[in-house]
């Protein structure tokens, strides 16, 4: 193809049906390469929103977000969590690489305050990522306001909301995350580009390497386990102990 035509086809405003949309800003790497390949800009939208559907807390939303949040915090950008459903457990977040001095936890009881805080934080240029939990799906008008705030601030906004995957939103990227045996399944419900039929699978990392000392100590003492618990050993770890 002629180079001029080629350059023209890479213009952000031109999109061909068989490819992902080009974005003005490169995305924020998700830390999961399989997912990066399926997202426009090869990552989470920067200066934009992501609508993340997780049926209940602990469905894998943090596993999905933590690598990107860790990278942002280490780059000196602020991260704000707005009304998380449980305690963000500091030891685990630290272990995931998040610089906790850059992490703020905002409590807001009612939905109005949450939306207000979302808009305020998204508008702030020093904030790299905002993760907000909403009870219901906001109205289209509010989505647009948040989208505008994110464009002003230039950070990444993640909205985790109740409701089902079928409730639409005017946001460019909508994902649904669900746990599956051995990992997560991320369904890209909406993206700028060709629709994705199959979910992206993100396997759990092998945690055998960072088993604490106390675990092995407990092995050695051979404490009688409660009879009601059914325990299955992870094979790799058994191997490692044998070695």
């Amino acid at each position: 193809m002629h180079p001029a035509v080629d350059a023209l086809l890479h213009h952000p405003k031109i999109w061909r049906g068989d490819q992902l949309a080009c974005t003005e800003h490169p995305g924020l790497a998700t830390g999961h390469s399989a997912l990066d390949r399926e997202l426009p800009g090869a990552g989470w939208p920067v200066g934009g929103l992501t609508d993340l559907v997780a049926r209940q807390p602990g469905s894998g939303e943090l596993r999905l977000l933590l690598p990107a949040l860790a990278a942002l915090s280490q780059a000196g950008r602020q991260i704000v969590l707005i009304a998380p459903p449980h305690i963000p457990y500091a030891p685990a977040w630290q272990a995931a690489g998040v610089d906790l001095t850059r992490l703020s936890w905002l409590r807001a009881d009612n939905e109005r305050d949450r939306l207000w805080a979302l808009e305020q934080t998204l508008r702030e240029p020093s904030v790299g990522a905002v993760v907000g939990w909403l009870a219901g799906a906001p109205a289209d008008r509010l989505w647009r306001r948040l989208q505008l705030a994110a464009e002003t601030g230039g950070g990444s906004g993640f909205i985790l909301r109740g409701g089902t995957a079928s409730t639409s939103s005017p946001v460019g990227l909508r994902l649904q995350v669900e746990p599956v045996a051995g990992g997560l399944s991320v369904q890209v419900l909406k993206r700028r580009g060709a629709p994705l039929a199959r979910p992206v699978l993100i396997p759990h990392e092998n945690r055998a390497g960072d088993q604490p000392l106390s675990f092995r100590f407990a092995d050695a003492v051979a404490s009688p386990l409660p009879a009601s618990a059914t325990v299955t050993s992870v094979p790799e770890r058994t191997l490692r102990v044998a070695a």
Binding site: G58, P84, H86, I87, A95, D210, Q211, T230
Partner: protein
């Protein structure tokens, strides 16, 4: 109507006349406040005894981008504060003052100063009435007439004063002035014309005070991190005391909180600042969440502690985003949602999982704990799990993975725990952090991994 007229004569001319007593103390306060505000334009501000301010601007013209720009800024600032201004601009302070009093705003150069001043009459000058009268008797109408006379004879007839004044105004004699020394604290009061309860109106009044504060701070290179806005409230007429019973009964004092006549709003900005827009943002949120118990009659803005505020240091390679901006956002969030609403988190060296973290108000370097298997979500209180088929159950049967992490700790401070923690999985693939309480012999859910 003329000054010196009787009140009755004035009222006969205008029936809707409202007479107010002149408050010289308030005038004095306002004069001082304006001097403090004007320090942002010039380091040398003089309180002239008249309601005038003298600013030495020759040394700061370059900074403000020229005379016209500077004068526009001063004008706009004063209009913002609600004052009307008459400007005069001349090479000597006295000439500038006279020109301002005569309502001649154009700038005058030193060469044309005698000619311009010559057109002025005596009425605005600081001369005694009999001096002016004797000048008139001599047939003199303007300063030009005085200038044309020999100065020695003039001094003999009228005293040294007039000749001295003329020499100072024309720059032939030095005219040293006492510069205004601003106080170390800021306190400004604004009385409202009528009781106000709507937050928009209060915001408008508060803005005026904040503009004054900002000017004061700018002039001194300072900032504030916290200010108090005290609203003087209207005493609510007491319904029970309508029967000529004053508020003497002791239960009145306790039962009626609206008898309090002050309402204090603390505005905290998270970092030293002097930007009106930033301070106004915090005030707006404070007013939104703290409705006034009664209409306000006046506002007082107090800033007790002033911070040195250096010009922001910009880094060539950073894109102008700093932690300081975030502190301001945090202040706005706290103003609306409460001080406890925004915290950081940090790990705490304790074996008990519920005590292995704490909230922190200031971001500081947290202790690095050894990496162990910990869930990203911790439940506020552990959730008891039921047993089905001798297995813990949470909507699905849970299967423990790996071996237990036994935590026995806290026997010394009255909160002992004896638990075996497991990573558990269900058929759905969800990963839970559950524990078996060895004292109660029961299962609990304590965290979620993903």
């Amino acid at each position: 109507m003329r000054p010196g007229q009787r009140r009755s004569a004035a009222e006969a001319l205008a029936s809707s006349l409202r007479c107010l007593r002149r408050d010289t103390a308030a005038e004095h306060r306002a004069h001082n406040a304006l001097a403090a505000w004007a320090l942002q334009f010039s380091p040398m501000v003089t309180l002239d005894p008249a309601p005038a301010l003298l600013l030495e601007i020759g040394s700061c013209l370059a900074y403000f981008g020229g005379l016209e720009r500077l004068r526009q800024q001063v004008d706009a600032g004063l209009i913002d504060l609600g004052y009307t201004v008459q400007q005069g601009c001349a090479p000597t302070p006295l000439a500038a003052l006279w020109l301002a009093q005569a309502g001649r705003p154009e700038a005058v150069a030193l060469a044309t100063l005698p000619e311009t001043l010559g057109q002025l009459s005596f009425t605005g000058l600081p001369l005694a009435a009999e001096q002016i009268a004797s000048l008139r008797r001599l047939g003199l109408q303007t300063l030009a007439d005085v200038q044309s006379l020999p100065s020695r004879g003039l001094s003999r007839r009228l005293g040294l004063q007039l000749a001295q004044l003329l020499d100072r105004a024309l720059g032939r004699q030095a005219d040293p002035r006492q510069p205004y020394q601003p106080p170390d604290q800021f306190e400004r009061q604004l009385d409202l014309n009528y009781p106000v309860q709507a937050s928009e109106a209060l915001l408008f009044a508060g803005r005026r005070l904040l503009i004054e504060l900002s000017g004061f701070l700018r002039g001194r290179g300072l900032g504030v991190q916290q200010v108090t806005l005290r609203l003087t409230l209207q005493q609510r007429p007491d319904l029970e005391s309508g029967q000529s019973q004053p508020l003497s009964a002791p239960h009145h004092a306790t039962a009626l909180p609206e008898n309090r006549s002050h309402f204090d709003l603390m505005l905290a900005f998270g970092r030293p600042t002097r930007e009106v827009a930033e301070m106004l943002g915090v005030l707006k949120e404070k007013l939104a969440v703290n409705p006034l118990p009664a209409p306000a009659l006046g506002l007082t803005l107090q800033a007790r502690v002033l911070h040195a505020l250096d010009a922001p240091v910009s880094d060539l390679f950073s894109n102008g985003q700093s932690a300081a901006d975030f502190a301001l956002l945090a202040a706005r969030l706290k103003a609306r949602l409460g001080d406890q609403a925004l915290t950081g988190i940090q790990p705490h060296p304790d074996h008990r999982p519920e005590r292995a973290w704490r909230t922190s108000q200031q971001p500081d370097n947290a202790p690095q704990l050894p990496a162990t298997l910990r869930p990203a979500w911790l439940l506020h209180t552990p959730q008891p799990l039921e047993l089905r088929d001798a297995r813990p159950w949470l909507g699905e049967p849970l299967q423990c993975q790996g071996r237990a992490e036994r935590i026995e700790s806290g026997w010394w401070d009255g909160a002992p725990i004896a638990r075996d923690y497991y990573l558990a999985c269900g058929p759905s693939g969800r990963r839970y952090w559950i524990y078996f309480d060895r004292k109660e012999q029961s299962w609990y859910l304590h965290g979620l991994f993903d």
